[in-house]
């Protein structure tokens, strides 16, 4: 049976042009589970990020620049933040009750002084009339 593939296909193809030696991100790839991500084919110097379709995890698989390098596999768990957790309020442990109470007393004192000044101004205006 004749071979329909000319010799040009049997020759070893020219390698792609030299690219900078840096990890390139292939973008999110959906996978059904971690094992599929671990077995996913990744080229030298490439990094692929996976989104688990059935579990709250993100995986990354990064290949080195030679067959001697062991691929690096990382697993990240997605944790949902509640609205209160996402606020800028400090943790409860950062609050000192005594500091808060003394601050409130100080503010009360300042308010009292302001009212006294207002009363004095009113009295001066009434006497001036």
């Amino acid at each position: 049976m004749p071979n329909f593939y000319p010799n040009i296909y049997n020759q070893y193809p020219q390698m792609q042009a030299q690219q900078p030696q840096m990890i390139q991100d292939g973008g999110f790839v959906p996978v059904p589970n971690e094992q599929v991500a671990r077995n996913y084919p990744v080229g030298f110097g490439k990094s692929v990020t996976f989104k688990d379709e059935n579990s709250p995890y993100i995986y990354t698989k990064t290949m080195g620049f030679s067959q001697l390098d062991t691929p690096t596999f990382e697993k990240y768990k997605l944790v949902k933040e509640t609205p209160s957790e996402g606020s800028n309020l400090p943790d409860k442990g950062d609050f000192d009750a005594n500091v808060i109470i003394s601050s409130i007393e100080k503010i009360k004192g300042e308010i009292g002084q302001i009212w006294a000044e207002i009363d004095a101004i009113k009295k001066e205006e009434a006497e001036g009339v």
């Binding site: 004749p2 329909f4 790839v29 990744v42 080229g43 490439k46």
Partner: protein, 72 residues
Amino acid sequence: MNPNDLMSMYQQMCNNPMQVLSRRFNIPQNVDMSNPNNILQYLLNSGQVSQEQVNRAMQMRNHPMIKALMNR
């Protein structure tokens, strides 16, 4: 290409698709062809396909039309 050659190609693909694939991409004998990931890894290592092409091909497997074809 005449119709007879075309039919012959089609028969080759039907009878032994792995042989046609290994000849087309010059895949050596020591690559375990039973696992598609091994084939893709070889094609990546030899520079015959890019990572983006692999990603697109892998995601095509989830397309409903492709799934319907595979289940025939």
